[in-house]
């Protein structure tokens, strides 16, 4: 092997080794890298008990009850739902059907007591007219 081929092999080995290490690292920390649990995860007992965690899903339309700064609403992942109780200021994007991520813990009655609510928006960007047209065509069907 020439010196150059030698170096090429070493660099290739380096890339291979690092990718392998990265793969196992990601595999090992997979759970920790999840930013939030879904309502289904939580009801299946996958979320940590007695500890603070994050839950993400959509705000069920028609479920929001406000009383000053107190808010109650239902969070859904279109399979299971969880009641959420929050007191504080909500982000501007908080509305029915909106994706949100809440931090807090689960009470004994399976009500999620949130200490923080963040809005999660999706990657769909369109002008308001287009969104309206889409909405109309989907309600007609």
């Amino acid at each position: 092997m020439t010196k150059r081929q030698n170096r090429m092999t070493l660099v290739a080995l380096l890339v291979f080794g690092v990718s392998l290490a990265g793969y196992f690292g990601i595999k090992a920390f997979n759970e920790n890298l999840l930013y939030f649990f879904t309502p289904t995860d939580v009801l299946e007992g996958k979320a940590p008990k007695g500890k603070s965690f994050r839950i993400g899903g959509l705000v069920q339309p028609g479920s929001i009850i406000r009383d000053d700064l107190l808010v109650f609403f239902t969070l859904t992942d279109n399979k299971k739902t969880i009641e959420i109780h929050f007191e504080g200021i909500l982000p501007d994007l908080f509305r029915e059907g909106q994706g949100i991520v809440a931090t807090g813990s689960l009470s004994d009655e399976n009500v999620f007591l949130a200490t923080e609510v963040l809005a999660k928006h999706d990657e769909n960007y369109m002008p308001p007219e287009v969104a309206e047209a889409l909405q109309n065509s989907s309600t007609k069907e």
């Binding site: 930013y35 939030f36 963040l118 990657e123 002008p127």
Partner: protein, 245 residues
């Protein structure tokens, strides 16, 4: 082609070529950035959910894209320098690092400014934001390592190895929004043939990406040109260039 590349490895030819190329990157950048900014910030419609605030995307996405693109170029040039021992590749890698670090910083700060009104927070430790922050640290580590040695050859060797090791972070950043639940939204190009952004908004975004691409070209060429002069300061051709004919 191969001959031309070999010629480019000579500092003098490299210097002359970069010098000639600069206007070919500078003017497209100027034209594209003016069109892109005007189209994106003025002509493009407001978003149905986020209103006018979404327009920060026209800075955020191009700089985030460039933060990864520049890193890729830097690692590739570093690898070429390691294997073929081409000094000019080391120059390209070295001058790319501060540019890439700046793009990363812009991506992170515009993201924070965007996150506060939309998500309700400046920062969260989700997979996308954290891996992008790690990219910034990789750039900073590369820059410090490159400056830690007196001998440019040793410096290039050590920092290139670091750059190649850090390559593993790029797919993690890109796929973080797919592999894990994150607060950060997914990619517009999740389905490449059917982008999830309206064309009226997408075109200026693509133009801005190209503008940033040319901006990197200009900055890298100017800095590489200067770096070559410094490295070759003892050769006769540099003296002719600096002192005049």
């Amino acid at each position: 082609m191969w001959k031309w590349i070999q010629k480019l490895a000579s500092p003098k030819v490299f210097y002359e070529t970069t010098n000639k190329l600069i206007p070919w990157f500078f003017w497209p950048f100027i034209v594209l950035i003016i069109i892109g900014l005007y189209w994106g910030l003025v002509l493009a419609p407001a978003d149905y959910q986020q209103g006018e605030s979404f327009r920060i995307i026209y800075i955020h996405v191009p700089s985030a894209w460039m933060s990864m693109f520049v890193y890729f170029i830097m690692a590739m040039a570093g690898g070429i320098g390691l294997i073929w021992q081409i000094k000019m590749a080391e120059v390209v890698a070295k001058v790319s690092a501060p540019i890439g670090a700046t793009f990363t910083l812009i991506a992170l700060s515009t993201g924070a400014i965007w996150g506060k009104p939309m998500w309700g927070t400046w920062w969260v430790w989700d997979a996308r934001l954290t891996s992008e922050l790690i990219l910034l640290f990789l750039y900073l580590a590369y820059i410090s390592l490159n400056n830690a040695f007196d001998n440019p050859k040793t410096a290039a060797k050590a920092s290139s190895i670091l750059a190649i090791v850090g390559l593993v972070n790029l797919p993690i950043i890109h796929y973080s929004v797919k592999w894990w639940n994150t607060l950060h939204q997914g990619s517009i190009f999740n389905d490449i043939s059917n982008p999830s952004m309206h064309p009226d908004m997408l075109w200026p975004l693509l133009i801005m990406v190209f503008a940033f691409q040319f901006l990197y070209g200009v900055l890298a060429l100017v800095n590489a040109r200067d770096e070559v002069l410094v490295r070759e300061q003892n050769s006769r051709w540099v003296r002719t260039v600096v002192m005049g004919e």
